[in-house]
């Protein structure tokens, strides 16, 4: 019994429960084909960029910040890799390394502005989102380009029945879990949870915040590389939808936006949940609603509408499960 209670009071609970619910519904609408390896591989490889972006966002949120520029970061990395490898003839490995450095640099710029100018991260990253989005448009004005076939074959393939993209997620997650054992990981949480106490305990707030955003930038860069391998081309608008979805995944995963409390496990579950919602809506339309002629002509729009509505409902329900932990106030 105490095991159950411990699980229910841990940070990621809402994420795990939502994910479980989504899997059940997905099996119902999709049938037995859900359990094929090909299906798992495709769901996971399509959603790996979002999962990794959600990990990056979690680190920033644990530090009591928020990063609206994750999507622009991913887009800029994607366009840089494509431009360097297509236009300037760099090898794809070198281009990817440059992309990763660019992602880190973007995070460092965010971190510098937020930590040392003390601008609220919400507004600062809102501004840099526009800057990096504009840079991506300059780097690659129109969608296009390609990557060597072995890159996307490797990314979409599987080893020992496990999709290769899962290994990327595991490596990124392990890096953060390892860092959590060292002072810096604990400092990131401490600054997010209780800034004044952390300061009194001798932690340099600005430095920790800078490192948190830089780390998030690097991880977003990895997400950018994944999306490049997934789509095998460049697109200056590719990351637009990821910003909202990765924040949603973090909230669904039970991490507190006020900082300090939560973890990447819930966020990963939240991100997979969002991916499954897309899947569910797609199969729901294909298997049940094809005979309504009124819907058919606008099916793709209505699918998007349904997906977004479910995301909002999910957000609302995730916040409901967190609510019990807060003390009641006089007014809302």
């Amino acid at each position: 019994m105490s095991q159950v209670r411990k699980f229910l009071s841990s940070a990621g609970t809402s994420g795990y429960l939502l994910l479980l619910g989504a899997i059940v519904i997905n099996v119902v609408v999709q049938g037995s084909s859900f359990f094929s390896t090909a299906n798992f591989t495709s769901i996971l490889s399509v959603n790996t960029p979002l999962i990794i972006a959600a990990i990056a966002q979690t680190i920033v949120v644990l530090n009591r910040g928020i990063d609206l520029s994750v999507g622009s970061n991913i887009t800029l990395v994607n366009t840089i890799v494509i431009m360097l490898s297509n236009k300037y003839g760099w090898s794809i490995e070198a281009a990817c390394a440059a992309g990763l450095i660019a992602g880190t640099f973007i995070g460092a710029i965010n971190g510098f502005i937020i930590a040392y100018f003390r601008i609220p991260s919400l507004l600062a990253t809102f501004a840099t989102m526009s800057v990096f989005g504009g840079l991506a448009l300059i780097v690659l004005p129109t969608p296009g380009g390609s990557v060597p076939s072995y890159m996307y074959l490797l990314y979409g393939g599987q080893t020992l029945g496990i999709p290769n993209s899962v290994f990327i997620v595991i490596v990124v997650a392990l890096i953060w879990l390892l860092l959590s054992k060292y002072p810096i990981g604990k400092h990131i949480r401490a600054v997010g949870g209780a800034e004044k106490s952390a300061y009194t305990a001798g932690i340099s707030i600005a430095k920790v915040r800078f490192i948190a955003f830089t780390l998030a930038g690097t991880i977003s860069g990895v997400a950018g590389l994944c999306i490049t391998a997934l789509t095998a081309s460049g697109d200056p608008k590719i990351g637009l939808s990821i910003t909202l979805n990765c924040i949603a995944a973090v909230i669904l995963g039970g991490t507190r936006l006020a900082g300090g409390w939560g973890g990447i496990g819930g966020s990963v579950a939240g991100a997979v949940f969002l991916g499954l919602v897309n899947n569910i809506v797609f199969f729901f339309f294909n298997n049940f609603l094809t005979h309504f002629s009124g819907i058919a002509s606008r099916a793709s729009f209505i699918q998007q509408l349904l997906t977004n509505t479910i995301i909002i409902l999910g957000l609302a329900s995730a916040v409901f499960t967190q609510r019990r932990k807060k003390r009641a106030k006089i007014a809302t």
Binding site: I66, I113, F117, R118, I119, P120, L122, L123, A124, F126, A127, T128, M129, S130, V131, F132, G133, G134, L135, L137, I138, P141, E195, K196, Y199, I205, S241, T243, L244, I247, A248, I251, L257, S297, R298, F301, I302, Q304, L305, N308, T309, I311, I312, L315, A316, S317, V319, F320, R323, K329, I330, A331, T332
Partner: protein
Amino acid sequence: MNQSTVPQLDLPPQGGRSAFHIGKLVRNNMFVAASLTIALFIAGSLFNPNFLNPQNIGSIFTLAVIMGIASFGQTVVVISGGDGIDLSIGGSISLGAVMSALVMNGQNSGIVPALLLVIGTGILIGLVNSAGIILAKVPPLVMTMAVANILGIVQLIVCNGSPTGRPAPAIAYIGTHRIFPILTVLMIVGVVFMFLARRFLNNTTYGHQLFAVGNNDNAAFLSGARPYIVRMMAYILSGVVGMLTGFLLLGYNSFVFINMGMAYVLPSVAAVVIGGTSFAGGKGSFSGTMVGAILLTTLASLLIVINTDEAGRQIINGVALVLILALYTREPSVRQ
């Protein structure tokens, strides 16, 4: 126009938590923004002598009116506090334009139905936003961003992917007619709107409650304001005014396209910051936002004069916002 819109101090009578600091800052903000605007006009005239001709100045102020009205809802939501921000206004503007073009379809008889539909939808948007933010406690940033996505899709569903229709002749007249080269009908609409907005924020019970709730939820609750109702009203106002901006923007542009309002999201936040409205809630003014809108529109116009493309404008807008934030919204160091 520029000088006359630099207003008096706009604080509510009851004042903020640290009124003397705020007063100084707001006055400062306005002064800095107005000087920057004049500097931009001078810079513009150096690149192109035509920048200062009445026609161009009139166009800049006309666009500033649209941006200012678009930012009204943002101002109210930010003043209402509780981390309030409304990123769905871009979606409201787009949907407002698409809907009113479809309903009016070039007929004056379509104006009233279009207005009713636009206002009704605006109220609905506000209700959805506030249901998520107040009932389910989703952070405003996330909720309004999600609603913005939904509005973008609804806009596509309403017009089945490609928007059609024209504004009614009367609305097109309001949107495009020039009385003198420097004075457009829309500018008069803007001045009237600003006057009403000021009265609304400073001289009505709701306005007072808005500032009170933004300053301190519990204190406002104990003195009789209902914070959840006041905030809900703020989001409803934002939705309605956003939709109406779409209606006006359609009149100004005379044609309609997808995602017309997207370009107003970042500037609306920037205008609010420039105008000295605090993101902590409880202090600010619409006059300040209007000055911010004029500054941003002048900047945008200057960027067009020096042939900057969409990408360049995005970058410069973002950099400008970072600089403005560095000037105005620095958080106190943890030591203080």
